[in-house]
Symmetry: C2
Subunit: 246 residues, 2 copies
DNA sequence: ATACCGACTTGATCTGGGTCAAAGGCGCAC
DNA sequence: GTGCGCCTTTGACCCAGATCAAGTCGGTAT
């Protein structure tokens, strides 16, 4: 776990530090990044990129939450990725986007024009390697989620999602695995349903059930307190430590 | 689509050519690969790597089929990846495996010792870039599968699986999208169920239903004929061309 | 040939989660 | 304040797919 932020690729003026990559970047490389960098803001609900669109940029999330979603013709949608601050968006080497990228909350992104970014990668092995590591992490996360989607019950799915969101929240780090966890849900019930392969009614019912059973406490609709993180992991059917250990 | 095999990382003596990577490798690089290469054979059902095991090698599938699976304590299992010949196994930079790798059929792999392979990557940018491309493809496939697991009906799931397996079979290329497709299923009903997040009974029932409705023809349990690939894609609820176009 | 075993099919029944419908809350504009 | 919209909850009912339980089929060892 340790420092999530070091996954990001950014540059010195970003709110996000770019330790892992740019600590190793020399002045010339940083200057290159700076030259092709720009910020974009989106309102909640706006689509950042449509599936099939030509990708003009890559970048990382500065603040807010974005999600990758796939939609079938009849309207069924599945969220296939959740992008929190410091997460990277885009595919160096891909001409067009494979899924819709949607701003789930108000969103700020730090973007780099794709072509020059790709050029820089090809000339900068340590950036390419960093990207590979990040992509492998995303792949592991995606496959972890396949287990959730394919085999877990609705209650387990909710618990899994809460543990993932909570885990990324700073407040947990202070408390440790057995401790209390407090955070605000950044997703509507519908967005949770789209991520979990459920309906929003089922999400709502299971949230109520978890509350009734004392696994979580709710204040308003979004403010969540988890008295015992371990208990939540048990509910998620998760045999691991939830990624809290190194 | 075009040439699947060019995804592989191998070396000249492998049954699999290694066009994309090694066409660009010089003699010294090929010699390095050769020095750390070895073959391993597994029988159907054998576990190649246990989740959590220390990874001693990376490599690619030469023949047969392997699958990546995750298992919960209570025995529920979800297949999270299907590895066909030419697919790459392993995570440069990872000390331990994230999932079980199981030989679904008799299996031959071409392996490289991990440490020297990683060293070679760090010194050989074009190999690292090739690995990044391959990993991005895997990520797309995993996310595509999340839609299948989260939102498709049993019938659509089966049709999706058949179209993926058939698509990798050489016989299709000759016939094109509207044509006939013939192949042998390399998976038991149970393995199909584990991949699709279903039970084996449901898989069997839906296979019968697709047969009854003329979407597929079955000869024995495993030999499948698809009269119209387009029809199969329609059944899969798939709006794309199934990856047949470039 | 017999009988055994693993892979598969089919039937009967059950149930978790979907669907449809009707109310709460709560924030915001007027 | 009052009213309007959106998010959320809750209830009643239904159905796709799970579960439980017999069989069938094909290969192979005795």
């Amino acid at each position: 776990m340790n420092e999530i932020l070091n996954l990001s690729i950014g540059c010195e003026n970003c709110p996000i530090q770019h330790r892992a990559v740019c600590a190793r970047c020399d002045a010339g490389e940083l200057e290159q990044l700076e030259a092709i960098k720009y910020y974009r803001s989106f309102e909640a609900g706006q689509t950042v990129i449509w599936s099939g669109d030509r990708m003009e940029f890559v970048g990382s999330v500065v603040s807010g939450i974005a999600s990758l979603t796939q939609t079938m013709e009849d309207g069924r949608t599945q969220m296939v990725g959740l992008l929190l601050p410091s997460d990277f968006v885009g595919r160096p080497g891909r001409e067009s986007a494979s899924y819709d990228v949607v701003a789930t909350t108000d969103l700020v992104m730090c973007c780099f024009r794709r072509k020059p970014f790709e050029k820089m990668i090809s000339e900068t092995p340590h950036v390419a390697q960093r990207l590979l590591e990040m992509t492998l992490d995303e792949l592991d996360a995606a496959r972890e989620w396949m287990l959730v989607l394919g085999r877990k019950t609705a209650r387990e799915k909710i618990a899994s999602l809460l543990s993932i969101i909570g885990r990324r929240d700073a407040s947990l780090k202070l408390e440790g695995i057995s401790g209390k966890m407090v955070f605000d849900l950044p997703l509507t019930r519908e967005a949770m349903a789209d991520y979990l392969g459920l309906t929003l009614e089922t999400v709502s019912r299971q949230m109520s059930a978890l509350k009734r059973d004392g696994v979580i406490e709710l204040e308003g609709k979004r403010h969540v307190t988890v008295p015992s993180f371990q208990r939540l992991l048990d509910e998620a059917g998760d045999d691991s430590d939830g990624g809290l250990m190194a």
